[in-house]
Symmetry: C2
Subunit: 231 residues, 2 copies
C-alpha cells in the first residue's frame, strides 16, 4: 500500500491536484486521501468543488505528500495549521511533491533550505525567500523533494514520481493509458517559448496578484526565520 496525502485548501488550482491525481491513483497499491482543514467541500480558484476525505487533525502519515498550488496558496503560507501539518508529515513521508506554487508552502514550512526547487514561472523567484536554490527547470528533484513548475508540469512530474515509487515500467503504462504524448496546438507555455505579446499579457493580468503574493511570501519568510511576528 502506498499512502498518498494531497493537501487541499480553498482557492487551489484544481489541475495542480487532478493532473497528478490521475497519474498517481493508477499506481498499484496507491491509496489517496485529500486532507483539508475540515470536511467542508473546498472550492478551487475557478469554482470546481473538491471534497476532503480527511482533515489535518486526523490525517495519517503518508509515503508521499503532494502539495498543489494556486492563488489560495498565499493564505496557507502564514497559517500555523498548514505549516505544522506539512512539517509533521514531512518527518515521515518518503517523498514530498510540490506542484506549481505549492512549492511555496514547502518553502514556508522550512523544507527547501539549501535545496534546489522550482515553482510556477511567475512565483519561482519567491522560493529564494525560503532559502531555496531557485532552479528554472520544469522538474527538479533534490533528495526526496520533487518540485514541478506551473500547473500542467505536475502531470510530467507525477510520472517521474511513479517511476521512483513503483517502477519505470509502471509509469510508462500509465503514460500510455492516459495517452500522454502531448501535442500543444501552439508553441509556448513558458516565458521563453511563448511570444512576447503573450508573456506581457499574462504578466499584466496577474500583476496585482503577484504583488499581493510577494507580501505573503515576505511575511511567511519572516515567520520561518523567526524575525516576524507570530499570529
Amino acid at each position: 500500500m502506498i499512502n498518498i496525502n494531497f493537501v487541499l485548501f480553498p482557492g487551489l488550482t484544481q489541475l495542480d491536484l487532478t493532473g497528478p491525481y490521475e497519474v498517481l491513483v493508477r499506481m498499484p497499491g496507491a491509496v489517496i486521501r485529500f486532507v483539508a482543514k475540515d470536511m467542508t467541500p473546498v472550492v478551487s480558484d475557478r469554482g470546481l468543488i473538491l471534497n476532503p476525505t480527511t482533515t489535518i487533525d486526523n490525517a495519517r502519515p503518508c509515503d508521499l505528500l503532494v502539495v498543489p498550488g494556486g492563488p489560495g496558496t498565499d493564505a496557507t503560507l502564514t497559517d500555523p495549521a498548514w505549516i505544522s501539518f506539512v512539517q509533521e508529515q514531512a518527518k515521515t513521508a518518503k517523498y514530498i511533491f510540490g506542484v506549481c506554487t505549492g512549492s511555496l508552502l514547502l518553502g514556508a514550512a522550512g523544507l527547501l533550505i539549501g535545496k534546489r526547487a522550482t515553482c510556477h514561472w511567475q512565483a519561482r523567484n519567491f522560493l529564494a525567500h525560503f532559502g531555496a536554490i531557485v532552479d528554472h527547470s520544469r522538474m527538479v528533484v533534490d533528495g526526496n523533494i520533487f518540485t514541478a513548475g506551473g500547473v500542467t508540469s505536475g502531470i510530467d512530474m507525477a510520472l517521474k514520481v511513479v517511476a521512483t515509487l513503483a517502477s519505470e515500467a509502471v509509469a510508462k503504462q500509465i503514460q500510455l493509458q492516459i495517452e500522454y504524448d502531448p501535442a500543444p496546438p501552439f508553441v509556448g507555455g513558458t516565458p521563453h517559448t511563448s511570444d512576447s505579446a503573450t508573456v506581457e499579457a499574462c504578466m499584466l493580468a496577474s500583476r496585482a496578484r503577484i504583488l499581493s503574493r510577494e507580501q505573503s511570501v515576505i511575511r511567511a519568510a519572516q515567520q520561518l526565520t523567526g524575525t516576524g511576528t507570530s499570529p
Copy 2:
C-alpha cells in the same frame, strides 16, 4: 457569455473533464455547468467525487457541449436519457467536444455519421460502428465537432477550442498561465511511440473491459440504426 455544459456521469475518467475544464474556464465569459442525471455527487472511475451543478432535465442550451469519457461511458451509450440529452443539446450548441471515449456517446447519439473522429486509442475503431470515419490523430475537427484522443489529449484540444471560440491570443495566454510546454519524462503515450512491452501490458490489463465495451457499442449501434430492441 459562453455557456459550456460538461456531461457528468459515474465512472468517468476525471482528467477527461478536469483537464479541459482548467483551460476552458479561463476563457473570458466562460460559464461552466456540470450536467448529471440528478444532483447526486458523481464518483469517477478511480474514486474522485465531482458535484453536478444541474441536471439533464434542467440544463439550458449551451454554446459548447463537452463529453468526457471513461469506463462509465459504456452505460451511457444505451441510456435513452443521455442519448436524447446529447441529441437535444447538439441541435443548438455551436460546438461539440468529445474527449477520450466520450466520442462514443457522440457516436451513439448519431452525431458522427459520415464525420471524421478520434477517441482513446483502445476504443478508436469502435467509432466505425456509429458510422464515423475513424481518424487516428490526437485531435480531429470535422465541422463543429471536435474530438480528442485519450485523457490528456483533452488539454491540447481544449486550447484549440478556445482559439476557435475566443481567439488564438487567448488560447496562448491560457497555455502560458498553465505552463503547458509539456515534457513527459519518457518516450511514449501512444501505441506507436510506447515500447511493445508497455503496449502489451496495457492491452492485457484492459482486455476484459474492451470486450465488455464492444458489447455496449454493438447494442448502442443497433439502437441507433433501429435494428436493436429499444429498452
